[in-house]
Amino acid sequence: MRNWILVFALTLAAAIPAAAQPINLDFPGLADRAEEVVDITLDASLLRVAAKFLSGKDADERAVRDMIHGLRGIYVRSYEFAREGEYDRALVDRVKTQLGASWKPLVTVRSKKKENVNIYANMRGEDIIGLVIISAEPREFTVINIDGPVDIERLSSLEGQFGIPNLSKEGSDD
C-alpha cells in the first residue's frame, strides 16, 4: 500500500508542469530606493479579461489575443534609480537560482558599462512553456516573466503591450 502511495505521489509530481512553480519577483526594499517603479501583474483571470478587450478585427490586436491565449500570466517588474550602484547586481542571480533544470539560456548579453541581458526559456521537449527576461543596467533593473506556452515567432506581437518594452525598436536605435 505504501509503495502504491509513493508511486502515485511520484507520478503526480512528474505530471505537474515545471511552470506551475511560480517565480518569486518580490524584491524587498528595492521599490523604496527606486526613483521610478513599474509593477504589472496579469494572472490567468486578468489575461482572459484583457483578451476580451482586444478587438478581433484589427490584425495586430488579433495577433496579441492569439499570443496571450493559453498564457498563465505576464509579470513585469522594473526599477529605475537616480544613481548607479543603488541596487545589488546579485539580484540577477537571485532570479536565476529560481530557474530549474528545464530552463535554458536563449540570449546572454554581457557589458561592463551598459546593460546585461539574460533571456531564459522553460522547455518542455521542443515547446517553450515560459520565458524570463532579466535586464540589468547600471541604473535600471527589469525582470519580465511570461508564464505559459510561448510561440517565439509570434512573441514580437507582445512588444509594447502589457508593459513589455518594445525590444526590437530599442535594438534598432543602437
Binding site: E36, V37, L46, R48, K52, S55
Partner: protein, 157 residues
C-alpha cells in the same frame, strides 16, 4: 407637483445607489490623511444614475472622487493604503510611480463574469483621482472595433 416628484425621484435614486464599501473605505482613508482634502463634485450622483441607466460604451457603473494635497503623500504609503482598503477580489494589475515626476497610478481589477471592475487611483500634475468603474469587456471591445478613435475620447472623459 411633477417637478417635486422628479426631484424626489432623483434624490431617491441618488440615495438608493449602492455605496461600495471598497471605494468609500479607500476614499475615506485618503481623505483622513494629513494634508489631503476631498473635493466635492456637484451633480456627480446624477451622472452616476444616468450611467447606470444608459450604460454608455459598456460602462455599468462608476464612482469618482478627486482630492487635493495627495501629491505630498509617498507613493509607497498610497500603495499600502490601496492594498488595505481595495476590498476582496481585487488584484493589483498595474502599479507605477515616479518620484522624479511625482506621478503615480495604481490600478486594481476584479473580473466578475463578463464584466471587469477597475479601481484606479492616479495622480498627475496636481490632480488626484480615485475611480471605480464597472465595464463590460465584450461591449468595450465591440466599441473599439467599431470606433477605434472614439475610444480614446471616452477614456479621456
Amino acid at each position: 407637483m411633477t417637478k417635486r416628484l422628479a426631484i424626489a425621484a432623483v434624490l431617491f435614486c441618488t440615495v438608493a445607489l449602492p455605496m461600495r464599501a471598497d471605494f468609500s473605505s479607500l476614499a475615506r482613508a485618503l481623505d483622513r490623511h494629513q494634508g489631503v482634502k476631498r473635493v466635492w463634485i456637484p451633480f456627480l450622483g446624477l451622472a452616476r444614475v444616468a450611467v447606470r441607466i444608459v450604460e454608455p460604451e459598456g460602462v455599468h457603473d462608476f464612482q469618482l472622487a478627486t482630492f487635493t494635497g495627495a501629491d505630498k503623500v509617498d507613493a509607497r504609503e498610497l500603495q499600502q493604503m490601496m492594498r488595505t482598503h481595495v476590498g476582496a477580489g481585487f488584484k493589483p494589475l498595474v502599479q507605477v510611480w515616479s518620484r522624479k515626476s511625482n506621478e503615480w497610478s495604481f490600478i486594481y481589477a476584479k473580473p466578475v463574469g463578463d464584466n471587469v471592475e477597475l479601481m484606479i487611483l492616479a495622480h498627475d500634475d496636481e490632480d488626484t483621482v480615485l475611480v471605480r468603474v464597472s465595464v463590460n469587456a465584450d461591449k468595450v471591445a465591440e466599441e473599439i472595433g467599431r470606433h477605434p478613435r472614439r475610444v480614446t475620447n471616452v477614456a479621456r472623459r
